[in-house]
Amino acid sequence: MDTFLLIAAAIKIAAFIGITLTFVSICVIFERRFSAIIQDRVGPNRTMIPLTILGFKKDLALPIGGLTQPVADGLKFILKEDFTPSYVRKFFFWLAPALVVVPALLTMAVIPFGSPMEIGGQFIPLAIADLNVGPLFIFAIASLSVYGITLAGWASNSKYPFFGGVRACAQMISYEIALGLSVIPVLMFFGTLNLGHIVEDQVANGWLLLPLWNDGGFILSSGYWDDPQSAIQRLLLMVPIVISFVIFTTSIFAETNRMPFDLPECETELVGGYHTEYSSMKFALFFMGEYAAMVVGSALIVTLFLGGWSIGFGIDNLLPAGAWWVSLLHLGVFLGKVTVFILFFVLVRWTVPRFRYDQLMNLGWIVFFEAALINVFLAALVIAYPSIGLWGVLIGFILLLVVTILLITVAKGATKKPSATAV
């Protein structure tokens, strides 16, 4: 019994880390190809499977050429000279890349990749650890990667990496607050911190961002409105949830140091940022850590807001629960959603120009922090409607409005530039 679970866990660990690492490389090729297409280029489309090395006549080209490019990239990184400059602090210099990549890979432990699979009468959840504190675990571990980046900047003992490290540190810590606060309305709504249960809830009641169906049926059928009060409440809840989604997504961008928040490594100012002094596989680890963080971030957004592995529209309920092929189908759907989100990351990269550092800090501390905070109360008002009644909600809303206006006034005063004559 216990050995069975142990073996299942071992298989899951191997499989999901494998999936994540494969996804990292897929991310790289997708990013390169999609970037190229946006810029009217072709991108890497030549890499083949080099069968000629094994003595075959021809190299095997995949239908979408270049899919094996990440393999070639990885090989290049391994074979390159691993140069350690003489002036670095060796121990931390070696430690930093590991500290970036390990938290990123650890966080995927709690993400449900697919629906529970039934093996020998037992339902095995397709998450390595079906923790009851999923999002908290992710936030706790993900914030450790700040250490890696900061240590890299400091241990490099060189000015540009140092600037990059300091910037990354400040940025990631700032946005963690917005990240944590923005997810609170979602957790209040679900009433659970178990990501598996959150997804199952979304299977039954519609994705968080797409509440088009519930137990009764689709939104247009009368079954949906069986309980009109809760249906209206659910639709009203879309306002705080959309705000949450926007803040959360943007914060994920900032947390993963992606454009438009890639100030820790902006080439125009800092050469390469915190990884300037790194080469070979150590650089590749930073690279991988960053992309793994991106994959896990996307996976978290998909899990919380877009229904995780569920196909949606009531199709999930028609499929036999627990069958292995259903689980794999759900796994595929989940990965598909994550892929779409990664393409979204790339799209944003080539659309939004990089922020100035003070703008970044303002956005994090003055806009998102307050907005997320107010959003928590807004969601609370909508959720508490059945217990405090219409008048309670109205009074609460008016109070919230007053506080919001006060906050905006204060924030405006804080962001005002000192006038030139005042100097």
Binding site: I37, V42, V352
Partner: protein
Amino acid sequence: MAIIKVERPKLTVGEKIYFGSIFKGMVITLRHAFKSLLGKSTGAEALKSSGLGITMQYPEQKWDDQLPEYYRGAPALVTDELDRERCVSCQLCEFICPPKAIKITPAEIPSTDEWSKVEKRPKEFDIDMIRCIYCGMCEEVCPEQAIYLRPDYVITGTERSEMVHDKKRLYEIGGKRVGLVNKWNDLK
């Protein structure tokens, strides 16, 4: 002239909230991406795109027919109308060559030969294409109009020795060139 004060346009509330503008931007980027994917980017036709963006994919597609008259590719030796080697191995090109890519071994033309009055012709004529910088000085300095820069640019090899063009190869590239000044025969 009255001074016209141009006011900086005020941002509307929608623009201040910023997300609408980002969304608009993303739509523009996506539209551009789709156009690029379909090979309909601006200038794709003029640049002979391969159907993906505006890029011409090299080994399959080439720009050869667009090369200008004066394109400086591989240097090559030419023969005249009567298939006589124009080169008289004066070695001026060897001496002018900035990267010292040219190596000539002169030889005398035997008196029995039809062109014995020309006196010399190259026995060996090697151009090291790894050294050549395509400056065209050999062409300019040649008193016999015997060496020309041809529009060949695909010079590849897997060994250094393959990259040295010998006399045979140079005539192969150069071929026959007519209408030049003729010193040694009666053709005009």
